[in-house]
Subunit: 261 residues, 2 copies
DNA sequence: CGAACCCTTGACAGAAATCAACTAAGGTGG
DNA sequence: CCACCTTAGTTGATTTCTGTCAAGGGTTCG
């Protein structure tokens, strides 16, 4: 694989602390591949041969059953996925596909398993990473079981807004149909939920969301770190969002709506 | 703590492989406590000071939000819980309460964290355990997002039946209201779902379920290891069920119904 | 025996899915 | 450059599913 992204990977919590020699071992055997959009990287049910690391682009993790499909996470650089399946040498529970042109590093899971047997630092990092993944799914499950669709959407909007520089306006980092699937509803239901939240305190204009009444939204979502996660933790569904206003300044156009309403 | 259960704990996958000295360290600092039914052991949001191990009885893991509540798992001996929170030294995402008279070992999480830094075998076992927990929650989430309430119930029944010695009849290992909460529905909805499955192939008589048409049930549930888990893996909601016919023999009364239908 | 509590059932309300039609935006190829 | 096609998103009408509220039967336990 090419070396240009090694420093990025090395900086991941998972790889940051391991011995240099072991990092070399793992990455030497790894593949570096770039895929176009809508390529299925992983088939649910297949055996886990590679740990995947998203370097550029974005990847959807989803699962299907009886013709239905649901997305479980959307990953952006730089993050790893399907670590658990690699560890257990078990079938993937989720499929993965690229959402856009995406660069992925593939680390053979055999190498991975070999290394965290001999590198305590890496083992430690793996434990921490897995615990974080686990907690993330638990929160998602709580979200699904305790909140209604509208409440989930409100919470999602507040969560996204918190990461926005101005805290008020942001662009949806993923397509609405994908967001719907992540929230566990149909696109139609999402559309209606959005509409109903407009009357509450979230203006919607295409990809742009503008919070007009945070209090009112919070009265719907009742955000809590025990479901929505602490501020410093990344969400699974599209944080690190590409966004207008990334420079931290609030721009006039962040509040401007385009023609249609 | 008393020593009588040390061998049981030692046999847990999590502790089986670690060095004897380290096992001694961990258990020496541990508490052994017995609680009556309906005692809340853990408060969601509190910081994780102890890894818990159920020795006798059963424990419900649940979470609440805005007056609502949902159960995320029911644990029976011998199993550990809230490992992830202990590792990350983070607030518990779930509360826990005893469902009956229950004996629990409490291992201080500081000791735990100290030991898996110095014991590679224990670190390895922790990784494996966490990966299993993660996969279990992912399956639960898929169940929730991909199947309807009736389909989830059918799948649950088939799963339970597979673990029964005769494969056809078994006793619900948990109260129906608890099962409802685990499946993410109200007790009323569960009751109706049960009724509707009776016409399909699952006779219900109080706690006893008898499968009268496996094929028909499977046509509803479409069971798959990618959601329901492989045969050898334990379910989170009440496997290792206390059950008539545990000796492996099929008894006539397993098929008998009591008076009312 | 009474008081809870679990479970069930019925009637109803609300939430979300489905089916269908329509708009808008983006890309393609003539 | 424009006609055409595809796809995301919206909206409306309707059905299906699930929750809520209320009541009653049965059981357990003090």
């Amino acid at each position: 694989m090419r070396d240009a992204e090694l420093p990025d990977i090395r900086q991941l919590p998972l790889f940051r602390t391991m011995a240099e020699a072991n990092f070399a071992t793992v990455t030497r055997a790894a593949y570096d591949q770039t895929f176009p959009a809508q390529v299925q990287l992983i088939d649910e049910g297949a055996t886990a041969d590679f740990l995947h690391i998203v370097i550029e682009g974005s990847v959807e993790l989803f699962a299907g059953w009886q013709g239905r499909e649901t997305t479980l996470a959307v990953l952006r650089p730089v993050s790893t996925f399907i670590l658990a399946a690699c560890i257990r040498d078990a079938p993937y529970l989720m499929s993965a596909r690229t959402l856009e042109k995406t660069r992925v590093i593939l680390v053979p899971s055999v190498d991975l398993r070999a290394v965290f047997r001999i590198d305590p630092e890496f083992a430690m990092a793996t434990i921490t990473e897995l615990a974080a993944c686990y907690r993330s799914v638990v929160r998602h499950t709580k979200d699904l079981k305790l909140r209604s669709a509208r409440e989930r959407l409100a919470a999602y909007i507040l969560k996204q807004a918190r990461t926005a520089p101005n805290g008020v306006s942001f662009l949806l980092p993923i397509e609405k149909r994908l967001l719907a699937s992540f929230l566990g509803i149909t696109p139609e239901s999402l559309s209606r939920a959005m509409k109903s939240l407009q009357e509450v305190g979230a203006k919607v204009d295409g990809q742009r969301i503008i919070i007009t009444d945070r209090r009112a939204l919070e009265a719907v979502a009742h955000p809590t770190p025990l479901i929505d996660g602490p501020d410093h933790e990344g969400l699974t569904a599209g944080l690190e969002l590409p966004e207008a206003g990334v420079d931290g300044l609030v721009r006039p156009e962040d509040f401007a709506l385009s023609g249609r309403t």
